[in-house]
Symmetry: C2
Subunit: 155 residues, 2 copies
């Protein structure tokens, strides 16, 4: 059974909330193959003490394990926030054909904000992008997180 | 004891040879902290069936585990070939201050060839780059690999 983009983005958003609950920047991602979620991740950079602990990287790692292939083809990644340089590069490496994201990341987003690594003619893979799905929800959990973070820092 | 750039690049080159021996594109990387190698990696994309299986990512993962921090500061990465978009993004994420590479990667290198992600003003971290260390050795193992690969493919 196939669901629509909002359905899968909502699944990614549930994962972002798990990050929020452990004081991590609340970003979540799922990878969908034939309607099924085969990779899930949420940001754990601090709790894992690892720069690779982004939602997208964790989801890619799980999806590759499921497919037993470094090529994550015929899949769509749903991620609550526009991917950073590392995650955008990993998406290109994995040959993911389509990425759907919620909120823009003006400071480090590489699906159009700072640069568009997902659609560079010079690279050997280009990604279809859909943006703005559940944008308000994906954006407001981030705003809420940083508000709480600043409040805690001021205490 | 501190060694020079050639010494550590030669260590990376030994790892590239390990990749060569298991039929992987021969790229190796080490991360050095206070003169000590705290992260080692060589390309295992096919054998791990994982798009994250690049030399630099494996070395970063090990170094983060050693430092128990997502910030791999006060370190230098030595890598035999110019990093791809994913690995360049991971280097920026990890705040690695300096990268030394051997051979250029004209098709996908993101330390100046296709783009320079390591030194983008728009991002929050810039990396010092030294290129061309043991360039001939780093380049010729790649040429040799692809020559053998094409020969095998033609058999």
């Amino acid at each position: 059974m196939e669901f629509n983009d909002e359905y899968y983005m909502n699944e990614a958003l549930k994962l972002a909330k798990e990050a929020y609950d452990i004081d991590e920047v609340p970003i979540g991602a799922v990878i969908v193959h034939n309607g099924e979620i085969i990779g899930r991740g949420y940001n754990k950079r601090n709790s894992l003490a690892n720069p690779l602990g982004h939602a997208e990287i964790i989801a890619i790692n799980e999806a590759a394990g499921y497919l037993k292939d470094w090529r994550i083809e015929e899949c769509t990644m749903y991620v609550t926030v526009e991917p950073c340089p590392m995650c955008s590069g990993a998406i290109v490496q994995a040959r993911i054909p389509r990425v759907v994201f919620g909120a823009k990341n003006k400071k480090a987003g590489c699906a159009g904000s700072v640069i568009n690594l997902l659609q560079m003619d010079a690279l050997n893979h280009q990604v279809e992008i859909t943006e703005g799905v559940l944008q308000e929800e994906c954006s407001s959990i981030m705003t809420e997180f940083f508000k709480r973070f600043r409040k805690k820092a001021a205490e």
